[in-house]
């Protein structure tokens, strides 16, 4: 369980960029964060991942304060997938090397060769979940993949060493609709299978309505509404419109 308690972040004098009393997020659920630009979504992400220390309040994961985590612990606990697929992978490395890099997250580096037979099998198995045939192209340069394939690969990389919290920052914004649905299906599957706490910033209200069990509607640094029952994208659009008005 991720618990944010009495958080306040203020970048400049005046209104805080983020202010919330208490927020609890459970494992195995996908939580969508929606809101207009400047609503505080990214600030909330940065506070959760420990990249930004709030002026007030605390963030705890399974009753352990995140501020006490070492950088190694943080990198093992939190995994992020960003909007641009090029930022989530190494384009001049092969798919295998990208996977090998991700598999070593949070572990000590050593001078043993990364080319091991059992790892190849493991990576192929993980990539087969995507159904994109990447498991047969382990030696291909990531730069030769399409945006959707790269985003799917970055998602697999992010969950290879199972994190506790998966942070998705507009993961489908750069993808075509069909590929976006495919990536979101994988997110849903991984969240359930690996019992992750998944938080997703999105402007795609259909995805928020369809894939998230919990929706946080943010405006001007605060969570205006929390929706835990099934709603339609139209309802969400109406909520946002109401807030903007």
């Amino acid at each position: 369980m991720l618990i944010l308690n009495d958080i306040c972040v203020q970048f400049q004098q005046g209104k805080p960029s983020l202010e919330l009393d208490k927020l609890c997020i459970k494992e195995g659920y996908c939580t969508a964060i929606i809101g207009t630009n400047g609503a505080g979504k990214s600030t909330l992400f940065n506070v959760i991942s420990g990249d930004l220390s709030p002026q007030r309040g605390s963030v705890a994961l399974n009753e352990k304060e995140i501020s006490t985590f070492s950088s190694k612990q943080k990198s093992k606990t939190f995994s992020t997938v960003v909007q641009d697929p090029r930022q989530g992978t190494f384009e001049n490395l092969s798919i295998f090397e990208n996977m090998a890099f991700a598999a070593a997250r949070g572990e000590r580096s050593n001078i043993k060769s990364i080319f091991k037979k059992f790892q190849k099998r493991l990576f192929a198995e993980k990539l087969s979940i995507l159904g994109m045939g990447l498991e047969d192209r382990l030696n291909a340069r990531v730069g030769s993949l399409s945006g959707g394939q790269r985003q799917a690969l970055s998602l697999i990389m992010a969950t290879l060493q199972t994190p506790k919290v998966l942070l998705l920052d507009e993961p489908t914004a750069a993808l075509d609709p069909a590929m976006a649905i495919r990536v979101m299906d994988i997110v849903q599957k991984l969240t359930k299978e690996l019992n992750l706490i998944t938080l997703m910033i999105t402007h795609n209200l259909e995805h928020a309505a369809h894939y998230a069990e919990d929706i946080l509607v943010m405006n001007a640094g605060i969570i205006e509404k929390r929706i835990t029952k099934k709603v339609s994208a139209l309802d969400l659009a109406a909520s946002l419109h109401q807030l903007a008005a």
Partner: protein, 287 residues
């Protein structure tokens, strides 16, 4: 081209192949534009000459050159990572500082001639010895690049933000990579000193360019993005460059003189890089 000239081109090519490996580690592997090689190769040579004069054995002198190079590598890493000075300026400042340090090493002498001192090349054919040293260094470093540690090292040059998110400490990687890079360059300085029989405090001028030309030539020849493979083949580019220079300078065939060396080198790099750009522009248009 005479056999002696070919042999000398091969020997110098292997030594500058080591320089190319050092330059490759900083410029390509960790994407750090480090110009300090001009200073550290001379440091390696000066330390080697002083050690030999002091009665050290040739292998011990080479080890001292390597160590001195590794220490030189810490300077640009510190300036950039700790003091946040730009990469280019960190390298230029280091080379600038090393000139004075090299003079201190040589006891204020601009050069040291080796007369009766022992040399590693007395033990056999210089070409064979240099071939073994080059292959050993290239194989070790190419292997390191395909280890888990090497993958982390490459990650900071490819996508530093992602590398950091995965827990790679960029600063410590830059320190280690630049130390390794300059250790190899220092070793090549020591070898150059023992091969030519002297060390000069200003012998490093243009070293980075010579390393870069070998990299560009090798990349044009082997056309792969596999870093370990490219690193293994850098000696080929360096040797090819030396042979081209030797041919150009032989017997006034093209009216080129030794003083035109920098001009030829510069034009060659511009031609290779320019050709790459023009080729990609042309293929874009034809699409």
């Amino acid at each position: 081209m005479s056999a002696a000239l070919l042999s000398s081109s091969l020997e110098l090519g292997l030594i500058y192949g080591l320089v190319a490996i050092g330059v490759y580690l900083s410029f390509r592997v960790i994407d750090f534009c480090d110009l300090a090689a001009d200073g550290s190769i001379a440091t390696g040579a000066c330390v080697c000459a002083v050690a030999l004069k002091a009665g050290w054995g040739p292998i011990a002198a080479l080890m001292a050159s390597t160590l001195s190079g590794a220490i030189c590598g810490i300077i640009p890493a510190f300036l950039n990572q700790q003091l946040k000075i730009s990469q280019l300026l960190s390298g230029i400042l280091t080379a600038f500082i090393l000139y004075s340090i090299n003079l201190k090493i040589t006891g204020g002498l601009p050069n040291i001639a080796l007369l009766d001192e022992a040399s590693i090349f007395e033990r056999g054919s210089p070409l064979l010895i240099l071939g073994i040293i080059y292959s050993g260094v290239a194989l070790i470093l190419a292997y390191l690049l395909i280890t888990r540690w090497g993958l982390r090292l490459r990650s900071i040059g490819q996508n530093p933000k992602l590398a950091t998110r995965y827990g790679v400490r960029r600063a410590s990687m830059v320190f280690i990579a630049l130390s390794l890079s300059h250790a190899v360059i220092g070793l090549s300085g020591g070898l150059l000193c023992q091969l030519q029989g002297f060390a000069d405090v200003s012998m490093g001028i243009g070293t980075v360019i010579l390393g870069l030309v070998a990299i560009v030539l090798t990349e044009a020849l082997i056309r792969t993005k596999n870093m370990a493979l490219t690193l293994l083949c850098l000696g080929v580019g360096a040797i090819l460059f030396r042979i081209l220079i030797a041919v150009a300078l032989t017997g006034d065939r093209f009216g080129i003189q030794a003083s035109d060396l920098n001009l030829i080198t510069g034009v060659m790099i511009i031609a290779l890089l320019g050709f790459k750009t023009l080729k990609s522009k042309f293929s874009e248009k034809s699409c």
